[in-house]
Symmetry: C2
Subunit: 324 residues, 2 copies
């Protein structure tokens, strides 16, 4: 993975997706004790940065391969990214989703014209279902993070941050990224290593699902014991990716972890101070910026708000306490 691949992904994306804004608010600065910039990927088409990786991967397929359709296994954000890219390229998408995926994500995926195949998290092997469908239909499986073109697509967030940081005159700033399998963290790290300005990429992950932080500490890919039990559905992965982890080892700072309660508080802060809707897994980097400020260096911090696809019930639970 190198910056040329990320620039090529950006060129393929062209004007099909959004350059999302970097926002700040006095109320967030007051909580963190420094300027907090929020890269609002919840405003991306499909509501998360995953549209970038999906577009990058689908657009990189040879036309005759792409014509047979694409397949993804996802609880919702990668699903919508791939479904959107497929629709805009005029090809079919099949998405394998867990039966308990958030309704907002299932509805969003279906509205983009994808065929949805559901599975039971406990009883079924999603990999087996995906392999069978790929075999039967000749479709190409688009992996959620452990694929070069997907990592390159997510890395375009990093290129944009570097440019926007220059435009805004931001000097030294840590960049915090919500981290599941590590596609965004790895792509962002590669993108930012090149043009230089914002230095560290700190992968945030939900506490108790701290595979990335433990792996970075131990130097080998550690696994989570469980894959459910956090509200941060978007970033619960078994372990860092085979492709993403070596990149993170080389370029990323140590992993940060936040609690579900801190993710909820960050959602409430984004509601009150930025008028942005974040999902729990999309709020962990902001939570780290706000509530782990001792772990961050520099006058400013840049947090990627990676997604905003959340069911109203869970969202309103996050707004139920005193607003930060």
């Amino acid at each position: 993975m190198n910056t040329e691949m990320i620039r090529a992904a950006e060129a393929r994306i062209g004007g099909a997706l959004r350059r999302t804004p970097m926002l700040w608010a006095p109320g967030l600065d007051a909580i963190a004790g420094r300027r907090v910039w929020v890269k609002a990927e919840c405003l991306q088409v499909t509501g998360s940065f995953k549209a970038r990786g999906g577009w990058s991967a689908v657009s990189a397929l040879a036309p005759e391969v792409r014509a047979r359709g694409v397949l993804a296994i996802s609880s919702g954000n990668h699903a919508q990214g791939v479904a959107y890219a497929a629709r805009e390229h005029g090809v079919q998408a099949v998405i394998v989703m867990p039966r308990d995926a958030p309704r907002a994500k299932v509805a969003g995926t279906a509205a983009l014209g994808a065929e949805i195949v559901t599975y039971d998290r406990l009883r079924d092997s999603r990999e087996a279902i995906g392999a069978r469908l790929a075999e039967e239909r000749g479709m190409t499986l688009i992996l959620p993070y452990d694929a070069p073109e997907v990592i390159a697509g997510q890395g375009t967030v990093g290129l944009e941050i570097a440019r926007q940081a220059r435009e805004a005159g931001i000097g030294a700033a840590d960049v915090l990224v919500c981290c599941g399998g590590g596609g965004l963290s790895a792509g962002g790290a590669v993108a930012q290593a090149a043009p230089a300005p914002p230095p560290g990429v700190g992968p945030g992950g939900p506490a108790r699902f701290d595979d990335t932080a433990r792996s970075l500490a131990s130097g080998r890919r550690e696994s989570n014991a469980r894959l459910s039990g956090s509200i941060c559905d978007a970033i619960l992965t078994p372990s860092p990716g085979a492709l993403t982890f070596p990149i993170l080892q080389r370029l990323a700072g140590p992993g940060l972890c936040v609690t579900d309660a801190e993710a909820r508080a960050a959602m409430a802060a984004a509601f009150a101070h930025l008028r942005l809707v974040l999902e729990p897994g999309g709020a962990v980097a902001l939570a780290a910026a706000l509530f782990r400020s001792d772990a961050v260096d520099g006058e400013a911090v840049i947090a990627v708000a990676s997604g905003g696809n959340v069911d109203p019930g869970l969202y309103c639970e996050a707004l139920a306490g005193d607003l930060p």
Copy 2:
């Protein structure tokens, strides 16, 4: 009021405020039956377009006048706009707010360092309180809409929309604006009359508080019988302004009205499809775009989402039903 005044306001604002994005989503297009663009002024600094008028007015004062401080009477969005401009200019702001103003707006105004003086909507004359404070302290009263520099500031939204419409290749599109006293509608209409692209400005107002629609129909400034009883607190005004109404007569299309239920549904749609937090009064133009599509011409419609300062309780009521 002319475009030169709006351009001068834009020059005074410079980089102090945001060029807010224009967003769209497949789910909104499906409801409206055409492409719906949303000018996301809820992402403006202070959470509403009112930061523009506040900055324009405060920055236009002679330094020795400004130094004595500024005063505003507002339930919250104009309050924060003036408070922010005052703070950034290093002068004091006093804001006269109704005792029942949304807590989010009171908190936001206080956090910007303004002194808040409360009044009782039923018993007190806010004008008398304002006049006394202005007299006693030598402060300049910044009116919420019936002042040329305020109208010019709000008109910068129109300049941006015209530019963004060109950049996005939007041909003919009606522009719908949330309308209380008419500052945004009038300023926007003047701004858009000049560079031409988007033609109509349709002021949206809450049903039963349809002073603007009735005034445009009758040709004279009509009043509302009451000033409470709608969730759209931001846009409940007694009647169109003395300065704004003649501009609207000359340049705006007929007024559109939506119900509180439709404003709530537009809030829910913005949550689900754009991940934007809108307040009821900031959602009425989007509500008109989504649910009054027979009153709109053209392949596309541009709705200004004018603000997002809302208390969590009211917000979650809007999300309680089926999402549109």
